[in-house]
């Protein structure tokens, strides 16, 4: 029983999923300025070109800083919330957790618009990297919580009590026992948040200041047909980078599972 028709359907569906992804490197290495078939021949010119675009480097640096900050903030906020929700019972737990997870289903434009209104109209502050970070942290934190909760959930509460019983304080028990055991979850959630922030456009477009993020920069380039091959090259590099980051995240998740002697039950997504 291999599900004959279903298997054919699944493979067709995978082709549908991979169609744009396969085109990306094709056009990145295509020796022609028009993004259309037939392909013109092989070139690495577009990659070489990338090295010379100052604005791109600025945007990339900006995006990386924003993504690192967002990921750090999200992971810290995520640890607090995930730990609180898996270890303690407290009044109004469900509504508080619900509110924290809301950005997961909120249309991103709503997050963007509401922060824009507050920052520009109410507080009268200039838009900057910080406004983007604020928005990105809001949408990344629920992802971090989701990953970290499953890490905290798997912990036997008596592990912490055993450490305390053997003479550690609460904080030491958390630091020496809980943190090492959830470290893979922390690394994984950090990388996921980093990747989400790096790629996020809808919020960044509203909240970015004078210095655009990488996706905002790309958006600007998409209007100029001559710039597009270089953008394709850039996209290819970003895909490769994402895949490396994800593989690292997956590696850490697996190691975490192995470390506590658990059974592997699929990816962290």
């Amino acid at each position: 029983m291999t599900g004959g028709w279903l298997r054919i359907y699944a493979i067709t569906y995978l082709v549908f999923l991979y169609l744009p992804v396969i085109l990306l490197p094709m056009f990145a290495f295509n020796d022609g300025t028009v993004i259309a078939f037939p392909l013109q021949g092989f070139t690495t010119e577009w990659f070489v070109q990338l090295a010379g675009i100052e604005a791109l480097h600025g945007a990339l640096l900006n995006s990386v800083i924003i993504a690192l900050t967002t990921a750090s903030l999200s992971v810290v906020l995520g640890i607090c919330a995930a730990r609180a929700s898996t270890r303690f019972t407290f009044p109004f737990k469900a509504p508080i957790m619900g509110a924290i997870m809301v950005p997961l289903v909120l249309p991103e434009i709503i997050v963007a618009v509401s922060l824009l209104v507050v920052v520009v109209q109410v507080l009268n502050l200039p838009l900057s990297a910080w406004t983007v970070i604020a928005g990105h942290t809001l949408i990344c934190t629920p992802f971090a919580i989701a990953i970290l909760s499953s890490a905290f959930q798997g912990l036997d509460q008596s592990l912490e009590e055993a450490a305390i019983d053997l003479g550690e304080t609460r904080w030491e028990a958390f630091k020496n026992i809980i943190l090492p055991l959830v470290a893979p979850g922390i690394v994984a959630s950090f990388l996921i948040c980093f990747t989400i922030s790096l790629d996020e456009f809808i919020i960044a477009f509203f909240l970015t200041g004078a210095e655009p993020t990488l996706p905002v920069y790309i958006w600007g380039q998409l209007r100029f047909p001559t710039k597009i091959p270089a953008v394709m090259a850039l996209g290819t590099l970003m895909l490769v980078a994402s895949l490396i980051i994800l593989s690292v995240a997956e590696f850490y998740r697996r190691r975490g599972v192995a470390r506590v002697g658990g059974k592997d039950s699929g990816g962290f997504l």
Binding site: D156, S158, L159, E161, A162, A163, I164, D165, L166, G167, E168, T169, I177, P180, L181, R259, V260, G261
Partner: protein
């Protein structure tokens, strides 16, 4: 002299009254068990002693010191958790040596202590193993070594054997007992298994619904349960309606339904009871079947029919419906070559031992 004194301990979880006035003294070097059905508050009491739960009122005195406000990590107690709580990211040796970090020992001293502790629990040479690769019995030993290495005044064990299979459990029972004698530390064991408590303990506290019903040594507990509930919980007991007869000679007599009259020795009467319950208890081994050819039993004899039986190999348990009674009594007989196992429906004679009667206070 007592190492632990529990003074009128109450514990509430919200509205739920989990511990309802626990008073108990536990002696130094004693193997003490908390025995009771699931949900009666044994774990809660153990965690109160260990400092993992606050009391709602009352005091835990440990080694002469009131433990109020003393956190778990500062108490001279260590715990073997029901799940063992072996740190999965550390090796066996790192687990066992975990609590030594605060002791400021040299590396060599630490290693020596760890080796010694592993040897004590029969895990020599396992130090470098990853903790999560151990079997259940081995985890249990690591948990023991890890707690005992700190030389606590009291070792707390929460159902440490319940996760093991039967063979392993029996082996660990003797081993735990041996270990306790060897280190001389007070052990407090939580268990719901009455047989385990009887085998292992110096004294047993039987708990029901947040209260201690009786504290006694195993033999005393089996021999003289203070009430019907304890008697029922520890082993098997027959309960027979009985009427107290005031004798002119000052002796206490009972007229037992189905069996007849009996004189109770003063030593077998419940202490301090002003009146007696209208029921007496009789263990299955205090009743016996009389086979053809056995010596005539004298006056203490009744007759009945075998209603049912369970054959255990070494023993047979008979359910015998005595004449004039509505419920059968349980009688245990050792199986010997000269004693054929009776069939269901067989007519039989039954004798009983007056000295084994258990009388309850009212």
């Amino acid at each position: 002299m007592s190492i632990i004194s529990l003074q009128d301990i109450h514990k509430y979880y919200g509205d739920y009254h989990a511990l309802r006035g626990i008073n108990c003294e536990i002696g130094e070097g004693e193997f003490f068990s908390l025995l009771g059905p699931s949900g009666c508050g044994k774990t809660t009491l153990l965690r109160v002693i260990g400092g993992f739960e606050d009391v709602s009122s009352g005091a835990v005195i440990l080694g002469g010191q009131n433990m109020a406000g003393v956190p778990a990590n500062k108490r001279p107690t260590n715990m073997v958790f029901q799940s063992y709580a072996i740190f999965p990211h550390l090796s066996v040796a790192q687990n066992v040596g975990y609590g030594l970090r605060k002791a400021r020992l040299s590396k060599a001293e630490q290693d020596a202590k760890v080796t010694e502790a592993l040897e004590m629990v029969g895990l020599s040479g396992y130090g470098a193993r990853a903790a999560h690769a151990l079997s259940g019995g081995q985890r249990q030993r690591v948990a023991l070594a890890r707690a005992l290495i700190l030389k606590p005044k009291v070792l707390l064990l929460d159902e440490p054997l319940s996760a093991l299979d039967k063979k392993m459990r029996e082996q660990m029972q003797t081993e735990l007992r041996r270990l306790q004698r060897q280190v001389g530390i007070t052990f407090i064991l939580v268990t719901h298994d009455q047989e385990e408590a009887l085998i292992m303990s110096d004294r047993i506290a039987v708990m029901f619904e947040g209260e201690i019903a009786q504290v006694a040594a195993p033999q005393e507990l089996y021999r003289r349960p203070v009430n019907r509930r304890v008697g029922e919980f520890i082993g098997v007991m027959n309960f027979l309606d009985a009427r107290h007869i005031e004798g002119a000679d000052g002796k206490v007599r009972f007229d037992i339904h189905g069996l007849g009259k009996a004189v109770i020795e003063p030593a077998n009467l419940p202490q301090g009871a002003r009146a007696y319950a209208p029921v007496v208890g009789l263990r299955p081994e205090a009743l016996s079947l009389i086979y053809e050819g056995d010596a005539p039993p004298g006056k203490r004899m009744a007759e009945g029919d075998v209603a049912d039986l369970s054959y255990y190999g070494d023993m047979t348990y008979y359910e015998v419906l005595l004449d004039g009674m509505t419920d059968p009594v349980t009688i245990s007989m050792k199986n010997l070559a000269s004693r054929p196992v009776l069939e269901r429906g067989a007519r039989t004679r039954v004798t009983w031992d007056e000295g084994s009667l258990v009388v309850f206070g009212a």
